[in-house]
């Protein structure tokens, strides 16, 4: 029996990258095949793909973040199915609230810290299998198909953003597969972003009325996040490391 060819061999990912880039780069891509013959491809499906022209990021206004509010943490836990079982040493923590106090002035602030989706992620540098990777649109993820659970990335991350799954899991969410023996972290709700949505934490923060979190494309100068970053002062965590995080904080 002659087998129909697979769409593209999986190893040929650079080739796909180029094709998908062409498909997503412009609304209409025109390719001249021969004199007088042009192939026009309409970017209908392009929305579903990680767009290399984008860089997703967050802006967190610490002044608006209420001290006792954990809506973002709860939303993330519900969305992805990780939970606090009372064992902080082994429980996964994709996002946590950190309280800071300035000893001199006594000013207290509270802010959420999750994977900072760095442009130069140390976790990707140290990964021995290539499981830790950065998507073309700037989201840092773990490919659990190739993760061997060595936890080098957990050591390398300056923000302590990654967790290791210590126990067997059941009934995972279909859009957020998680399993024992692999490392995991905030995915910036990549399943929502691919459908044109916003991360669950940002949505939950908006619902509380605090509106401390803003999600958007850092590469688009017209986006709300870029305009606010241009207008008001903000910082990223551990700027000395020059990893260029995608998560920005203001009024910290």
């Amino acid at each position: 029996m002659k087998l129909p060819a697979l769409k593209t061999p999986a190893k040929d990912i650079t080739e796909i990258n180029r094709r998908e880039f062409l498909r997503s780069g412009a609304a209409v891509a025109t390719v001249a095949l021969a004199p007088g013959v042009t192939l026009m491809a309409f970017g209908g499906e392009a929305k579903a793909l990680a767009d290399p022209g984008k860089r997703w990021g967050l802006l967190i206004d610490v002044n608006k973040c209420a001290k006792d509010c954990t809506a973002c943490v709860t939303a993330c836990s519900d969305e992805h199915g990780w939970e606090d079982t009372g064992n902080p040493e082994t429980d996964p923590q994709w996002i946590r609230k950190v309280d800071l106090k300035d000893k001199d002035t006594g000013r207290e602030v509270s802010l959420p810290v999750m994977c900072q989706h760095c442009e130069n992620p140390p976790c990707v540098d140290v990964c021995p299998t290539g499981a830790s990777f950065i998507r073309p649109d700037g989201i840092v993820l773990v490919d659990k198909h190739t993760c061997i659970g060595c936890r080098y990335c957990m050591m390398a991350c300056p923000f302590k953003a990654r967790s290791f799954v210590h126990e067997e899991l059941e009934d995972q969410k279909s859009y957020s597969p998680r399993g024992k023996g692999t490392v995991e972290s905030c995915t910036l709700c990549v399943h929502r972003i691919d459908e044109g949505g916003t991360p669950a934490c940002v949505e939950a923060c908006g619902k509380t009325g605090n509106g401390a979190m803003l999600f958007g494309d850092l590469n688009d100068p017209e986006s709300e996040i870029s305009r606010r970053l241009a207008e008001y002062p903000s910082i990223t965590l551990r700027e000395d490391l020059r990893v260029n995080p995608g998560v920005h904080y203001s009024n910290i």
Binding site: L49, D143, L169, E170, R178
Partner: protein, 145 residues
């Protein structure tokens, strides 16, 4: 003579048991809910793992969600209902993937991370009860009155 007779009996016994086992040489694969694969069952049996692996890389690395062969779709369309009318997990008896994989003694790694049961939304659709003809007739009668 008696020994030969006993030998023949034993042989028949062995033959009978192999014939009986022959009925179960191929696992009893549960039927799916949706339309048949256009590639055919033979192709899917031999190549499903390649299709899954190919598309998982596209989704994971490039965010291509408009794919044809996702594990989520496999699990939804091939859901097998247990005694409680809810889809069974891969650890329970009769799960579509487990039936063949147990027979062939090939371990499935997929479900260490992925859910082997359909999403809650899909379960709700599976559980939907359609009115039977009598209920429909009663309803229509009630409308005309």
């Amino acid at each position: 003579m008696m020994r030969l007779f006993a030998g023949i009996l034993l042989l028949f016994g062995v033959l009978a048991s192999t014939v009986h086992a022959g009925e179960h040489l191929i696992p009893d694969v549960p039927k799916a809910v949706g339309p048949a694969h256009p590639e055919g069952n033979e192709f899917m049996r031999a190549n499903h793992m390649k299709l899954l692996k190919h598309d998982r890389d596209l989704t994971m690395r490039l965010g291509d969600r408009a794919i044809e062969n996702s594990l989520k779709d496999c699990v939804t369309c091939h859901a097998v209902k247990g005694p409680d009318a809810l889809p069974v997990s891969v650890k329970e008896e009769g799960h579509f993937c487990a039936v063949c994989h147990q027979f062939a003694a090939v371990k499935i790694d997929c479900f260490q991370c992925h859910n082997s049961k359909p999403d809650e939304d899909s379960i709700r659709i599976l559980l939907q009860k359609y009115p039977d003809s009598r209920e429909l007739a009663d309803y229509l009668e009630g409308m005309t009155e």
